[in-house]
Protein backbone atom coordinates (compact mmCIF):
# COMPACT_ATOMS: atom_id res chain seq x y z
CA UNK A 1 0.00 0.00 0.00
CA UNK A 2 2.76 2.39 0.94
CA UNK A 3 4.58 1.32 -2.20
CA UNK A 4 1.53 2.13 -4.28
CA UNK A 5 1.00 5.55 -2.66
CA UNK A 6 4.65 6.33 -3.10
CA UNK A 7 4.44 5.39 -6.78
CA UNK A 8 1.26 7.44 -7.22
CA UNK A 9 3.04 10.47 -5.74
CA UNK A 10 5.99 9.97 -8.05
CA UNK A 11 3.68 9.50 -11.04
CA UNK A 12 1.74 12.69 -10.30
CA UNK A 13 4.95 14.65 -9.75
CA UNK A 14 6.15 13.75 -13.23
CA UNK A 15 2.70 14.31 -14.74
CA UNK A 16 2.47 17.80 -13.25
CA UNK A 17 5.94 18.68 -14.53
CA UNK A 18 4.58 17.88 -18.01
CA UNK A 19 1.47 19.89 -17.22
CA UNK A 20 3.73 22.89 -16.59
CA UNK A 21 5.41 22.44 -19.97
CA UNK A 22 1.89 22.25 -21.47
CA UNK A 23 0.99 25.57 -19.84
CA UNK A 24 3.97 27.08 -21.64
CA UNK A 25 2.94 25.63 -25.00
CA UNK A 26 -0.64 26.74 -24.39
CA UNK A 27 0.53 30.33 -24.10
CA UNK A 28 2.33 30.04 -27.43
CA UNK A 29 -0.08 27.90 -29.43
CA UNK A 30 -3.39 27.91 -27.58
CA UNK A 31 -3.52 31.66 -27.04
CA UNK A 32 -1.33 33.08 -29.78
CA UNK A 33 -1.31 30.46 -32.54
CA UNK A 34 2.48 30.12 -32.65
CA UNK A 35 3.30 26.71 -34.11
CA UNK A 36 6.33 25.80 -31.98
CA UNK A 37 7.53 22.31 -32.92
CA UNK A 38 10.74 22.77 -30.94
CA UNK A 39 9.29 22.30 -27.46
CA UNK A 40 11.97 19.74 -26.53
CA UNK A 41 14.71 22.29 -27.22
CA UNK A 42 13.28 24.87 -24.84
CA UNK A 43 12.63 22.24 -22.17
CA UNK A 44 16.22 21.07 -22.63
CA UNK A 45 17.65 24.58 -22.27
CA UNK A 46 15.87 24.94 -18.93
CA UNK A 47 17.03 21.53 -17.72
CA UNK A 48 20.67 22.15 -18.65
CA UNK A 49 20.67 25.70 -17.30
CA UNK A 50 19.40 24.60 -13.91
CA UNK A 51 21.71 21.57 -13.82
CA UNK A 52 24.78 23.67 -14.60
CA UNK A 53 23.87 26.24 -11.98
CA UNK A 54 23.17 23.81 -9.14
CA UNK A 55 25.49 20.80 -9.54
CA UNK A 56 28.65 20.71 -7.43
CA UNK A 57 31.92 21.66 -9.14
CA UNK A 58 33.24 18.87 -11.37
CA UNK A 59 35.71 18.11 -14.17
CA UNK A 60 32.97 16.55 -16.30
CA UNK A 61 31.52 19.86 -17.48
CA UNK A 62 31.81 23.63 -17.04
CA UNK A 63 30.13 25.70 -14.35
CA UNK A 64 28.82 23.47 -11.55
CA UNK A 65 28.30 26.47 -9.32
CA UNK A 66 26.49 24.59 -6.57
CA UNK A 67 23.75 27.21 -6.25
CA UNK A 68 20.50 26.48 -4.39
CA UNK A 69 17.81 24.63 -6.36
CA UNK A 70 15.48 27.65 -6.38
CA UNK A 71 18.22 29.73 -8.00
CA UNK A 72 18.61 27.01 -10.63
CA UNK A 73 14.89 27.12 -11.42
CA UNK A 74 14.83 30.89 -11.69
CA UNK A 75 17.94 30.72 -13.84
CA UNK A 76 16.28 28.10 -16.05
CA UNK A 77 13.31 30.41 -16.67
CA UNK A 78 15.60 33.33 -17.36
CA UNK A 79 17.86 31.43 -19.78
CA UNK A 80 15.10 29.66 -21.70
CA UNK A 81 12.99 32.84 -21.73
CA UNK A 82 15.92 34.83 -23.13
CA UNK A 83 16.73 32.13 -25.66
CA UNK A 84 13.07 32.08 -26.74
CA UNK A 85 13.03 35.86 -27.08
CA UNK A 86 16.15 35.80 -29.29
CA UNK A 87 14.89 32.89 -31.40
CA UNK A 88 11.45 34.49 -31.56
CA UNK A 89 12.90 37.81 -32.65
CA UNK A 90 14.57 36.05 -35.57
CA UNK A 91 11.71 33.74 -36.58
CA UNK A 92 8.30 35.11 -35.56
CA UNK A 93 7.83 37.06 -38.77
CA UNK A 94 7.53 33.68 -40.54
CA UNK A 95 4.16 32.19 -41.40
CA UNK A 96 3.01 29.31 -39.24
CA UNK A 97 4.31 26.42 -41.37
CA UNK A 98 7.72 28.04 -41.78
CA UNK A 99 7.83 28.81 -38.08
CA UNK A 100 7.22 25.11 -37.44
CA UNK A 101 10.15 24.04 -39.62
CA UNK A 102 12.39 26.68 -38.06
CA UNK A 103 11.58 25.78 -34.46
CA UNK A 104 12.08 22.11 -35.30
CA UNK A 105 15.53 23.02 -36.60
CA UNK A 106 16.24 25.00 -33.46
CA UNK A 107 15.40 21.98 -31.31
CA UNK A 108 17.67 19.74 -33.38
CA UNK A 109 20.44 22.30 -33.03
CA UNK A 110 20.00 22.47 -29.27
CA UNK A 111 20.12 18.68 -29.05
CA UNK A 112 23.32 18.60 -31.11
CA UNK A 113 24.90 21.27 -28.93
CA UNK A 114 24.02 19.27 -25.81
CA UNK A 115 25.50 16.19 -27.45
CA UNK A 116 28.71 17.72 -28.78
CA UNK A 117 29.66 20.69 -26.63
CA UNK A 118 31.09 18.26 -24.14
CA UNK A 119 33.02 20.83 -22.12
CA UNK A 120 29.79 22.71 -21.39
CA UNK A 121 27.18 19.95 -21.19
CA UNK A 122 29.01 16.75 -20.45
CA UNK A 123 28.21 15.56 -23.99
CA UNK A 124 26.53 12.16 -24.43
CA UNK A 125 27.21 11.29 -20.77
CA UNK A 126 24.88 14.08 -19.67
CA UNK A 127 24.97 15.67 -16.25
CA UNK A 128 24.62 13.68 -13.05
CA UNK A 129 24.41 14.62 -9.36
CA UNK A 130 21.72 17.25 -9.99
CA UNK A 131 20.52 18.03 -6.46
CA UNK A 132 17.07 16.67 -5.69
CA UNK A 133 14.61 18.63 -3.56
CA UNK A 134 14.18 17.12 -0.06
CA UNK A 135 17.14 14.80 -0.67
CA UNK A 136 17.70 14.62 3.10
CA UNK A 137 14.58 12.40 3.39
CA UNK A 138 15.32 10.34 0.27
CA UNK A 139 15.58 7.19 2.41
CA UNK A 140 11.87 7.51 3.26
CA UNK A 141 10.23 7.17 -0.19
CA UNK A 142 6.67 7.98 0.86
CA UNK A 143 7.65 11.22 2.57
CA UNK A 144 10.19 12.09 -0.14
CA UNK A 145 7.75 11.55 -3.00
CA UNK A 146 4.95 13.25 -1.07
CA UNK A 147 7.01 16.38 -0.43
CA UNK A 148 8.11 16.53 -4.07
CA UNK A 149 4.50 16.17 -5.19
CA UNK A 150 3.43 18.96 -2.83
CA UNK A 151 6.17 21.18 -4.23
CA UNK A 152 5.31 20.61 -7.90
CA UNK A 153 1.59 20.84 -7.19
CA UNK A 154 2.11 24.21 -5.51
CA UNK A 155 4.19 25.42 -8.45
CA UNK A 156 1.58 24.19 -10.93
CA UNK A 157 -1.11 26.02 -8.98
CA UNK A 158 0.87 29.27 -8.88
CA UNK A 159 1.63 29.05 -12.61
CA UNK A 160 -2.02 28.26 -13.36
CA UNK A 161 -3.21 31.32 -11.42
CA UNK A 162 -0.56 33.53 -12.99
CA UNK A 163 -1.44 32.26 -16.49
CA UNK A 164 -5.17 32.74 -15.95
CA UNK A 165 -4.66 36.29 -14.70
CA UNK A 166 -2.51 37.07 -17.68
CA UNK A 167 -4.42 35.32 -20.43
CA UNK A 168 -7.95 36.18 -19.38
CA UNK A 169 -7.24 39.89 -19.52
CA UNK A 170 -6.94 42.70 -22.05
CA UNK A 171 -3.46 41.31 -22.83
CA UNK A 172 -4.91 37.89 -23.60
CA UNK A 173 -7.63 39.53 -25.66
CA UNK A 174 -4.98 41.12 -27.86
CA UNK A 175 -3.29 37.72 -28.33
CA UNK A 176 -6.61 36.20 -29.34
CA UNK A 177 -7.34 39.08 -31.74
CA UNK A 178 -3.93 38.76 -33.39
CA UNK A 179 -4.51 35.03 -33.77
CA UNK A 180 -7.93 35.56 -35.35
CA UNK A 181 -7.09 38.50 -37.64
CA UNK A 182 -3.68 40.08 -37.52
CA UNK A 183 -4.46 42.96 -39.92
CA UNK A 184 -7.58 43.98 -38.06
CA UNK A 185 -5.69 43.92 -34.75
CA UNK A 186 -2.92 46.08 -36.21
CA UNK A 187 -5.47 48.58 -37.54
CA UNK A 188 -6.62 48.97 -33.93
CA UNK A 189 -3.14 49.81 -32.70
CA UNK A 190 -1.90 46.42 -31.47
CA UNK A 191 1.60 45.46 -32.58
CA UNK A 192 1.43 41.80 -33.68
CA UNK A 193 5.19 41.29 -33.49
CA UNK A 194 5.49 42.69 -29.96
CA UNK A 195 2.69 40.53 -28.55
CA UNK A 196 3.88 37.40 -30.35
CA UNK A 197 7.35 37.90 -28.97
CA UNK A 198 6.03 38.37 -25.44
CA UNK A 199 3.94 35.19 -25.64
CA UNK A 200 6.79 33.20 -27.19
CA UNK A 201 9.33 34.31 -24.59
CA UNK A 202 7.01 33.78 -21.65
CA UNK A 203 5.92 30.37 -22.94
CA UNK A 204 9.56 29.40 -23.45
CA UNK A 205 10.41 30.44 -19.89
CA UNK A 206 7.60 28.24 -18.52
CA UNK A 207 8.75 25.28 -20.64
CA UNK A 208 12.27 25.80 -19.34
CA UNK A 209 11.01 25.70 -15.76
CA UNK A 210 9.20 22.43 -16.52
CA UNK A 211 12.44 20.99 -17.89
CA UNK A 212 14.37 22.12 -14.82
CA UNK A 213 11.84 20.52 -12.47
CA UNK A 214 12.13 17.19 -14.29
CA UNK A 215 15.91 17.36 -14.20
CA UNK A 216 15.92 17.85 -10.42
CA UNK A 217 13.32 15.18 -9.70
CA UNK A 218 15.32 12.60 -11.61
CA UNK A 219 18.77 13.92 -10.72
CA UNK A 220 20.28 13.14 -14.12
CA UNK A 221 19.89 14.50 -17.65
CA UNK A 222 21.26 13.51 -21.05
CA UNK A 223 20.80 14.93 -24.56
CA UNK A 224 18.50 12.12 -25.67
CA UNK A 225 15.85 13.20 -23.14
CA UNK A 226 15.19 16.15 -25.46
CA UNK A 227 14.26 14.60 -28.78
CA UNK A 228 11.23 15.31 -30.94
CA UNK A 229 9.27 12.54 -29.22
CA UNK A 230 9.11 14.84 -26.18
CA UNK A 231 7.69 17.61 -28.37
CA UNK A 232 5.13 15.17 -29.76
CA UNK A 233 4.10 14.08 -26.27
CA UNK A 234 3.59 17.66 -25.06
CA UNK A 235 1.60 18.61 -28.17
CA UNK A 236 -0.63 15.55 -27.68
CA UNK A 237 -1.21 16.57 -24.06
CA UNK A 238 -2.30 20.06 -25.07
CA UNK A 239 -4.55 18.96 -27.92
CA UNK A 240 -6.25 16.24 -25.88
CA UNK A 241 -6.66 18.45 -22.80
CA UNK A 242 -7.94 21.46 -24.72
CA UNK A 243 -5.81 23.99 -26.52
CA UNK A 244 -6.50 27.56 -25.42
CA UNK A 245 -7.59 26.53 -21.93
CA UNK A 246 -5.16 26.37 -19.00
CA UNK A 247 -7.19 23.75 -17.14
CA UNK A 248 -7.25 21.72 -20.31
CA UNK A 249 -3.47 21.95 -20.56
CA UNK A 250 -3.03 20.61 -17.02
CA UNK A 251 -5.65 17.88 -17.45
CA UNK A 252 -4.09 16.81 -20.74
CA UNK A 253 -0.65 16.64 -19.14
CA UNK A 254 -1.86 14.31 -16.39
CA UNK A 255 -4.06 12.13 -18.63
CA UNK A 256 -1.56 11.57 -21.41
CA UNK A 257 1.21 10.88 -18.92
CA UNK A 258 -1.10 8.30 -17.32
CA UNK A 259 -1.63 6.72 -20.73
CA UNK A 260 2.09 6.76 -21.43
CA UNK A 261 2.88 5.12 -18.08
CA UNK A 262 0.04 2.60 -18.33
CA UNK A 263 1.11 1.50 -21.78
CA UNK A 264 4.62 1.04 -20.37
CA UNK A 265 3.24 -1.17 -17.60
CA UNK A 266 1.14 -3.13 -20.10
CA UNK A 267 4.14 -3.73 -22.34
CA UNK A 268 6.13 -4.88 -19.30
CA UNK A 269 3.38 -7.37 -18.44
CA UNK A 270 2.67 -8.73 -21.92
CA UNK A 271 5.91 -8.65 -23.90
CA UNK A 272 8.68 -11.16 -23.07
CA UNK A 273 11.68 -9.63 -21.31
CA UNK A 274 14.12 -9.92 -24.21
CA UNK A 275 11.78 -8.00 -26.54
CA UNK A 276 10.86 -5.20 -24.15
CA UNK A 277 13.40 -2.64 -25.32
CA UNK A 278 11.98 -2.85 -28.84
CA UNK A 279 8.39 -2.95 -27.62
CA UNK A 280 8.90 0.34 -25.78
CA UNK A 281 8.27 2.07 -29.10
CA UNK A 282 4.65 0.92 -28.76
CA UNK A 283 4.19 3.61 -26.11
CA UNK A 284 4.46 6.28 -28.80
CA UNK A 285 2.04 4.25 -30.93
CA UNK A 286 -0.47 4.16 -28.08
CA UNK A 287 -0.23 7.93 -27.61
CA UNK A 288 -0.59 8.45 -31.36
CA UNK A 289 -3.73 6.32 -31.51
CA UNK A 290 -5.15 8.19 -28.55
CA UNK A 291 -4.40 11.51 -30.28
CA UNK A 292 -6.09 10.39 -33.50
CA UNK A 293 -9.18 9.28 -31.56
CA UNK A 294 -9.28 12.56 -29.67
CA UNK A 295 -9.06 14.55 -32.89
CA UNK A 296 -11.90 12.54 -34.40
CA UNK A 297 -14.19 12.53 -31.39
CA UNK A 298 -13.35 15.74 -29.56
CA UNK A 299 -11.29 18.03 -31.78
CA UNK A 300 -11.45 20.98 -29.36
CA UNK A 301 -10.06 18.82 -26.55
CA UNK A 302 -11.66 17.77 -23.27
CA UNK A 303 -11.97 21.36 -22.01
CA UNK A 304 -12.11 23.70 -24.99
CA UNK A 305 -11.42 27.39 -25.28
CA UNK A 306 -13.98 29.83 -23.89
CA UNK A 307 -15.71 32.46 -26.02
CA UNK A 308 -15.32 35.20 -23.41
CA UNK A 309 -11.64 36.08 -22.97
CA UNK A 310 -11.49 38.55 -20.09
CA UNK A 311 -12.12 37.12 -16.63
CA UNK A 312 -13.35 40.60 -15.70
CA UNK A 313 -16.45 39.97 -17.81
CA UNK A 314 -17.55 36.93 -15.76
CA UNK A 315 -20.74 37.96 -14.00
Amino acid sequence: MIGFASYAFFFLTTALSYAIICLGLNLQWGQTGLFNVGVAGFVGIGAYASALLTTPATDAHLMGWGLPIAAGWLGAMLVSGTASALIGFATLRLRSDYLAITTFGVAVTIHLIALNAQRLTGGPYGIAFIPRPFNEVADRPLLFNGLNLALVAALTFVLYIASERLVRSPWGRVLRAIREDERAAASLGKSPSLYRLQAFALGGAVMGLGGALQAHFIGFIAPDNYLSSLTFLVWTMLIIGGSGNNRGAILGGVLVWALWSASGVAIGAIVPAEQQARAAALKIVAVGVFLALALLLRPRGLIGERTVVSRHLDE
Partner: protein
Protein backbone atom coordinates in the same frame (compact mmCIF):
# COMPACT_ATOMS: atom_id res chain seq x y z
CA UNK B 1 -4.58 72.73 -41.79
CA UNK B 2 -5.85 69.55 -43.49
CA UNK B 3 -6.22 66.58 -41.15
CA UNK B 4 -4.91 64.10 -43.72
CA UNK B 5 -2.59 64.79 -46.66
CA UNK B 6 -1.13 62.45 -49.27
CA UNK B 7 1.57 63.84 -51.55
CA UNK B 8 2.55 62.06 -54.76
CA UNK B 9 2.00 58.57 -53.42
CA UNK B 10 3.33 55.79 -55.62
CA UNK B 11 2.76 52.08 -55.04
CA UNK B 12 4.07 49.55 -57.55
CA UNK B 13 3.45 45.82 -57.59
CA UNK B 14 6.21 44.52 -59.84
CA UNK B 15 5.98 46.70 -62.95
CA UNK B 16 2.37 47.71 -62.32
CA UNK B 17 1.72 51.05 -60.61
CA UNK B 18 -1.53 50.55 -58.66
CA UNK B 19 -1.22 54.06 -57.26
CA UNK B 20 0.74 56.38 -59.53
CA UNK B 21 1.56 59.76 -58.02
CA UNK B 22 -1.73 60.48 -56.22
CA UNK B 23 -2.15 63.50 -53.95
CA UNK B 24 -5.19 64.28 -51.84
CA UNK B 25 -6.12 66.18 -48.75
CA UNK B 26 -8.99 65.91 -46.29
CA UNK B 27 -10.18 68.87 -44.21
CA UNK B 28 -11.19 68.49 -40.56
CA UNK B 29 -14.91 67.85 -40.12
CA UNK B 30 -15.79 66.91 -43.69
CA UNK B 31 -16.97 63.65 -45.21
CA UNK B 32 -14.86 63.29 -48.33
CA UNK B 33 -15.47 60.61 -50.94
CA UNK B 34 -12.97 58.61 -52.96
CA UNK B 35 -14.60 57.11 -56.04
CA UNK B 36 -13.55 55.50 -59.27
CA UNK B 37 -14.09 52.35 -61.33
CA UNK B 38 -12.92 48.92 -60.15
CA UNK B 39 -9.15 48.67 -60.32
CA UNK B 40 -8.68 52.42 -59.97
CA UNK B 41 -6.41 51.93 -56.96
CA UNK B 42 -8.77 53.20 -54.25
CA UNK B 43 -8.29 50.34 -51.81
CA UNK B 44 -4.51 50.36 -52.41
CA UNK B 45 -4.65 54.08 -51.59
CA UNK B 46 -6.47 53.25 -48.35
CA UNK B 47 -3.93 50.57 -47.49
CA UNK B 48 -1.16 53.13 -47.95
CA UNK B 49 -2.93 55.74 -45.82
CA UNK B 50 -3.65 53.13 -43.12
CA UNK B 51 -0.12 51.71 -43.20
CA UNK B 52 -1.05 48.18 -44.33
CA UNK B 53 1.12 48.82 -47.38
CA UNK B 54 4.24 50.97 -47.62
CA UNK B 55 4.47 53.43 -50.51
CA UNK B 56 7.44 53.30 -52.90
CA UNK B 57 7.56 57.09 -52.72
CA UNK B 58 5.54 60.04 -51.53
CA UNK B 59 4.51 61.43 -48.17
CA UNK B 60 1.55 60.95 -45.84
CA UNK B 61 0.78 63.52 -43.16
CA UNK B 62 -1.78 63.09 -40.38
CA UNK B 63 -2.39 66.39 -38.56
CA UNK B 64 0.88 67.62 -40.03
CA UNK B 65 2.96 64.65 -38.84
CA UNK B 66 4.74 62.51 -41.41
CA UNK B 67 3.70 58.89 -40.96
CA UNK B 68 4.48 57.13 -44.25
CA UNK B 69 7.28 55.04 -42.71
CA UNK B 70 5.41 54.01 -39.55
CA UNK B 71 3.75 50.57 -39.33
CA UNK B 72 -0.04 50.14 -39.44
CA UNK B 73 -0.39 49.76 -35.68
CA UNK B 74 0.94 53.29 -35.13
CA UNK B 75 -1.77 54.97 -37.21
CA UNK B 76 -4.55 54.86 -34.65
CA UNK B 77 -2.38 56.63 -32.08
CA UNK B 78 -2.08 59.53 -34.53
CA UNK B 79 -5.87 59.60 -34.79
CA UNK B 80 -6.51 57.61 -37.97
CA UNK B 81 -8.85 54.62 -37.84
CA UNK B 82 -10.15 52.43 -40.66
CA UNK B 83 -12.71 49.82 -41.61
CA UNK B 84 -12.27 47.14 -44.26
CA UNK B 85 -14.02 46.53 -47.56
CA UNK B 86 -14.85 43.03 -46.40
CA UNK B 87 -15.38 43.47 -42.65
CA UNK B 88 -12.83 41.79 -40.42
CA UNK B 89 -14.42 41.12 -37.03
CA UNK B 90 -12.64 38.77 -34.64
CA UNK B 91 -15.05 35.93 -35.41
CA UNK B 92 -14.76 33.80 -32.28
CA UNK B 93 -14.82 36.72 -29.84
CA UNK B 94 -18.05 38.22 -28.53
CA UNK B 95 -19.26 41.54 -29.92
CA UNK B 96 -18.56 43.36 -26.68
CA UNK B 97 -14.96 42.12 -26.59
CA UNK B 98 -14.50 42.93 -30.27
CA UNK B 99 -15.32 46.53 -29.39
CA UNK B 100 -13.37 46.54 -26.11
CA UNK B 101 -10.25 45.51 -27.97
CA UNK B 102 -10.31 48.79 -29.90
CA UNK B 103 -9.73 50.96 -26.84
CA UNK B 104 -6.29 52.55 -26.79
CA UNK B 105 -3.63 52.53 -24.06
CA UNK B 106 -5.27 49.97 -21.78
CA UNK B 107 -3.05 49.20 -18.80
CA UNK B 108 -4.31 45.61 -18.90
CA UNK B 109 -2.71 45.17 -22.33
CA UNK B 110 0.67 45.12 -20.60
CA UNK B 111 1.81 41.99 -18.81
CA UNK B 112 2.85 43.19 -15.36
CA UNK B 113 -0.26 45.16 -14.29
CA UNK B 114 -2.29 41.96 -14.65
CA UNK B 115 -0.19 40.40 -11.89
CA UNK B 116 0.71 43.44 -9.81
CA UNK B 117 -2.37 45.67 -10.09
CA UNK B 118 -5.33 43.38 -10.90
CA UNK B 119 -7.81 45.77 -9.29
CA UNK B 120 -6.77 48.62 -11.56
CA UNK B 121 -7.15 46.31 -14.53
CA UNK B 122 -10.59 45.20 -13.28
CA UNK B 123 -11.71 48.81 -12.87
CA UNK B 124 -10.47 49.69 -16.32
CA UNK B 125 -12.22 46.66 -17.78
CA UNK B 126 -15.54 47.78 -16.28
CA UNK B 127 -15.12 51.22 -17.86
CA UNK B 128 -14.13 49.72 -21.20
CA UNK B 129 -17.09 47.35 -21.10
CA UNK B 130 -19.52 50.20 -20.37
CA UNK B 131 -18.15 52.25 -23.25
CA UNK B 132 -18.31 49.25 -25.57
CA UNK B 133 -21.90 48.51 -24.55
CA UNK B 134 -22.89 52.13 -25.17
CA UNK B 135 -21.37 51.98 -28.65
CA UNK B 136 -23.10 48.67 -29.41
CA UNK B 137 -26.32 50.27 -28.27
CA UNK B 138 -25.67 53.21 -30.62
CA UNK B 139 -25.23 50.71 -33.47
CA UNK B 140 -28.38 48.79 -32.46
CA UNK B 141 -26.31 45.69 -31.70
CA UNK B 142 -26.48 45.59 -27.92
CA UNK B 143 -28.85 42.61 -27.75
CA UNK B 144 -26.16 40.56 -29.53
CA UNK B 145 -23.35 41.77 -27.25
CA UNK B 146 -22.53 38.31 -25.89
CA UNK B 147 -22.74 36.46 -29.18
CA UNK B 148 -19.61 35.60 -31.14
CA UNK B 149 -19.09 37.99 -34.05
CA UNK B 150 -19.20 35.19 -36.63
CA UNK B 151 -23.00 35.07 -36.20
CA UNK B 152 -23.48 38.58 -37.63
CA UNK B 153 -24.75 39.48 -41.10
CA UNK B 154 -22.60 41.51 -43.49
CA UNK B 155 -24.26 44.82 -42.58
CA UNK B 156 -24.07 44.12 -38.85
CA UNK B 157 -20.35 43.42 -39.28
CA UNK B 158 -19.92 46.87 -40.83
CA UNK B 159 -21.65 48.41 -37.82
CA UNK B 160 -19.50 46.35 -35.44
CA UNK B 161 -16.34 47.53 -37.18
CA UNK B 162 -17.51 51.10 -36.85
CA UNK B 163 -18.13 50.65 -33.11
CA UNK B 164 -14.73 48.97 -32.71
CA UNK B 165 -12.88 51.85 -34.33
CA UNK B 166 -14.98 54.51 -32.57
CA UNK B 167 -13.94 53.33 -29.09
CA UNK B 168 -10.40 54.31 -30.07
CA UNK B 169 -11.67 57.92 -30.43
CA UNK B 170 -10.07 58.62 -33.83
CA UNK B 171 -10.27 62.05 -35.46
CA UNK B 172 -10.52 60.61 -38.96
CA UNK B 173 -11.93 57.28 -40.14
CA UNK B 174 -11.30 55.68 -43.52
CA UNK B 175 -14.44 53.76 -44.54
CA UNK B 176 -13.98 51.22 -47.33
CA UNK B 177 -17.34 50.64 -49.06
CA UNK B 178 -19.67 50.94 -46.07
CA UNK B 179 -22.68 50.09 -48.29
CA UNK B 180 -21.31 46.98 -50.01
CA UNK B 181 -23.31 43.83 -49.30
CA UNK B 182 -25.65 45.58 -46.85
CA UNK B 183 -29.42 45.10 -46.99
CA UNK B 184 -31.42 48.32 -47.62
CA UNK B 185 -32.90 48.74 -44.13
CA UNK B 186 -29.51 48.38 -42.47
CA UNK B 187 -28.04 50.77 -45.04
CA UNK B 188 -30.20 53.56 -43.64
CA UNK B 189 -28.88 52.82 -40.15
CA UNK B 190 -25.30 52.95 -41.42
CA UNK B 191 -25.83 56.28 -43.22
CA UNK B 192 -27.55 57.76 -40.16
CA UNK B 193 -24.73 56.64 -37.87
CA UNK B 194 -22.00 58.02 -40.12
CA UNK B 195 -23.77 61.38 -40.18
CA UNK B 196 -24.25 61.29 -36.37
CA UNK B 197 -20.58 60.55 -35.80
CA UNK B 198 -19.55 63.26 -38.25
CA UNK B 199 -21.71 65.81 -36.39
CA UNK B 200 -19.72 64.94 -33.27
CA UNK B 201 -16.60 66.13 -35.05
CA UNK B 202 -15.14 62.99 -36.65
CA UNK B 203 -13.82 63.39 -40.21
CA UNK B 204 -14.40 60.68 -42.82
CA UNK B 205 -12.82 59.59 -46.06
CA UNK B 206 -15.17 57.14 -47.77
CA UNK B 207 -14.68 54.76 -50.69
CA UNK B 208 -18.09 53.99 -52.13
CA UNK B 209 -19.61 52.71 -55.37
CA UNK B 210 -23.21 53.43 -54.48
CA UNK B 211 -23.57 56.96 -55.95
CA UNK B 212 -26.82 57.59 -54.12
CA UNK B 213 -24.96 57.06 -50.87
CA UNK B 214 -22.04 59.21 -52.03
CA UNK B 215 -24.43 62.09 -52.79
CA UNK B 216 -26.09 61.78 -49.39
CA UNK B 217 -22.86 61.58 -47.39
CA UNK B 218 -20.11 63.48 -49.13
CA UNK B 219 -19.66 67.18 -49.65
CA UNK B 220 -16.71 66.60 -51.95
CA UNK B 221 -15.41 63.63 -53.88
CA UNK B 222 -12.05 62.80 -55.41
CA UNK B 223 -12.04 60.55 -58.45
CA UNK B 224 -9.32 58.01 -59.25
CA UNK B 225 -8.86 56.01 -62.43
CA UNK B 226 -6.01 53.67 -63.44
CA UNK B 227 -3.93 54.62 -60.41
CA UNK B 228 -4.11 58.36 -61.03
CA UNK B 229 -6.20 61.18 -59.67
CA UNK B 230 -8.69 62.31 -62.28
CA UNK B 231 -10.57 65.21 -60.73
CA UNK B 232 -12.42 66.37 -57.65
CA UNK B 233 -15.52 68.38 -56.85
CA UNK B 234 -19.08 68.21 -55.53
CA UNK B 235 -20.65 64.77 -56.17
CA UNK B 236 -23.30 66.05 -58.61
CA UNK B 237 -20.80 68.00 -60.66
CA UNK B 238 -18.24 65.18 -60.74
CA UNK B 239 -20.81 62.63 -61.91
CA UNK B 240 -21.55 64.85 -64.97
CA UNK B 241 -17.84 65.24 -65.81
CA UNK B 242 -17.18 63.63 -69.23
CA UNK B 243 -13.73 62.35 -68.15
CA UNK B 244 -15.31 60.59 -65.17
CA UNK B 245 -18.04 59.03 -67.29
CA UNK B 246 -15.42 57.91 -69.79
CA UNK B 247 -13.31 56.35 -67.01
CA UNK B 248 -16.29 54.39 -65.63
CA UNK B 249 -17.40 53.23 -69.08
CA UNK B 250 -13.84 52.38 -70.10
CA UNK B 251 -13.34 50.56 -66.81
CA UNK B 252 -16.45 48.42 -67.20
CA UNK B 253 -15.70 47.72 -70.87
CA UNK B 254 -12.14 46.55 -70.11
Amino acid sequence: MPILVAENLVKRFGGFAAVDGVSLSVRPGEIAGLIGPNGAGKTTMFDLLAGSLTANSGRILIKGREVQAAPAYHRIATGLGRTFQIPRPFPEMTLVENVMLGRQRQIGERILPNWLAPRRVAREERETRDKAMALLDFMALSRLAREPARTLSGGQRKLLELARVLIAEPSIILLDEPAAGVNPSLLETIIARILDINRRGVTFLVIEHNMDMVVRLCGRVMVMASGKRLTEGAPAEVSRNPAVIEAYLGGSAA
